[in-house]
Subunit: 357 residues, 2 copies
């Protein structure tokens, strides 16, 4: 198997400091696909690199469920000067997804009544996330994207971009994504949701300004981390290494310590209601047909059991059926779903050829 | 893929009524591998079929984590008249594992102080489970087993039988098991444990006679059910079938409904502390070497991601290294880990040849 970089398991090592400050755009009222109207929507965004004179060099990066607008941080292996998405040539724009909790309007934002939305925040869709991003681009005066990209939930948004706005995108690079969640993906999300919903501190969603269901959210994140890695990656990193002598129910094995650390850390940066809203949005997403549209590049990962390669292949085939130019590459890797954040070498080679071709 | 029998997903359809009543044996004080002594241990057992005159026809069946002594119920595809473990010829003995909650001494049993053990129940091992079973066989006057068998946690017990008592067992049939849990298996168990430990109703383990951490236990069971099935099995059964129009956070997809149903049902028959104690026992188990011993038959399942075939192969190789006669068959199936309960045809063929060979 490939060597696993120890830095992979240290989230901090993966998060380079952002060089572009986060800004907030007010995009006004947003009519949702449900017909509901979300008033006074704000979208957090960051731009890495500079827009050229005709604003034709913008790349929009859509994040995975737990991500944020700091795409040069969580995707620092691909975004930066002389990297795959070269900020010396492109203006790389990260936004926080609608429903999120990192600056864009979501359940923890204030409603017009002056208190956090909480349980009254409406259900949203992947299409709504994309619509909010399009409004932001309108404000920034960007008529067309050189590329839209993302992995996992971000890949679903990028795919939806090419459906809703097929002429507003020149290229789409989509990795570790799906046209629709399988029952297994929904199952992972539902177990994670129930960990939150069944925590009494969730309080039907109206727990603000308290910390909310931190234990349920921590468990939901542990479930997520299990689904992100392959058996081989777990074994390579943790094996059966013990942390200490057993002491009651405290973590005994290193892998237990890792899961609890990741789970608890997540509660300090993420809102439980955002997890509920975003996970429901991606579970509900279905892309059964595409119009003619941009050039497409898909990648998937041999050991990704959460978003297996056949899902990317299905999206690629939809693109072909729509008459688009499309390619799909399966990257051999032991890193499971997280490979889209980590396997920089082959992604870089493919993306460079794709953007310059 | 193979057709999936709809009855598979109905646990009731899998549980034939037991024909042999449950009995309780008092096996006295049991010294544990830790050095602690568990006083006045009771073991619940059921015998399907009749012991012959020299008591040489006994087969001991060890259950998986959530099982019980009613082996002719949960393994009804393999145990019964004219089935693989033919109760017309063998006395098939099921016991409830030490630490369990179906009649054998466990955390919900009364301690000598007259109240449930709860948080004071000692840590136990797979070796302790086997030692308790051996005491039961002493009481029943059974000097040697024709076969010891089990799947998953039950397979680890059967393997341990052949290590602790290599001359007391003629044959061992072990399915979907492991010599030691991988980091991924520990991860699944730890997420499930944390769902319980972080439920305030767990109350540090001293929640009796209350219902205890029912929501945490339900979530832990949902995590389990995700690990038991393959992606293909989930898709074949549930696809993206919707249960109803979305109504708040109630299950929308059939797979969500299934998980919640299984989770909630589990809380009515299982004790959360038993889950903690048993899951820690199997996470801690390590079999690195075997003595010379009985004939061994291993099976594993192509789509089992929880107890993958390479783990059964490792146990088979340990047996070979010990000079035992041993075979390992990988059964092609889409049913994941649960296949050991379901794939009756090939198991039956292999077991019949093994027992008569």
């Amino acid at each position: 198997m490939a060597t696993i970089d120890p830095a992979y398991f240290d989230e901090n090592a993966r998060t380079a400091p952002a060089t572009a400050e986060r800004q907030i755009a007010c995009i006004g009222d947003l009519e949702l696909e449900s017909g509901n109207v979300l008033p006074n929507v704000e979208v957090a965004y960051q731009i890495f690199g500079s827009l050229n004179a005709d604003r034709s060099n913008a790349i929009l990066v859509c994040h995975a469920l737990s991500g944020d607008s700091n795409c040069a941080g969580w995707w620092d292996r691909l975004i930066g000067p002389r990297k795959a998405f070269d900020t010396n040539h492109y203006a790389v724009i990260g936004t926080n997804a609608l429903g999120g909790c990192q600056g864009t309007t979501g359940p923890s934002s204030l409603s017009p009544e002056g208190r956090p939305w909480g349980s009254s925040f409406p259900a949203i869709t992947v299409g709504d996330m994309v619509a909010a991003q399009a409004r932001l681009l309108d404000q920034l005066g960007i008529p067309q994207l050189a590329c839209v990209t993302g992995g996992s939930m971000g890949g679903m948004q990028a795919l939806e971009w090419t459906r809703q706005f097929p002429t507003r995108v020149s290229r789409a690079y989509i990795t570790a994504a799906s046209t629709a969640h399988s029952a297994l993906q929904i199952a992972y999300n539902e177990a994670a949701r129930q960990a939150i919903l069944r925590d009494p501190d969730w309080a039907s969603g109206d727990y603000y300004p308290g910390p909310g269901p931190v234990h349920g959210l921590a468990v939901s994140r542990m479930i997520g981390h299990i689904s992100f890695l392959s058996e081989l990656a777990f074994t390579a990193k943790f094996g059966r290494d013990r942390k200490a002598d057993p002491d009651g129910w405290a973590p005994e094995f290193q892998v237990e310590s890792y899961l609890n650390y990741q789970g608890d850390k997540f509660t300090k940066r993420f809102d439980a209601n955002s997890f509920l809203v975003l996970s429901k949005a991606i579970d509900g997403y279905e892309c059964a047909e595409l119009p003619a549209g941009p050039r497409m590049l898909f990648t998937s990962y041999s050991s990704d059991l959460l978003y297996p390669s056949h899902q990317s292949e299905a999206a690629h085939q939809l693109s072909i059926a729509a008459g688009r130019e499309s390619a799909h590459h399966v990257i051999e890797t032991p890193w499971g779903h997280d490979a889209f954040l980590l396997e920089a070498e082959e992604q870089t080679r493919l993306i460079r050829a794709f953007l310059s071709g």
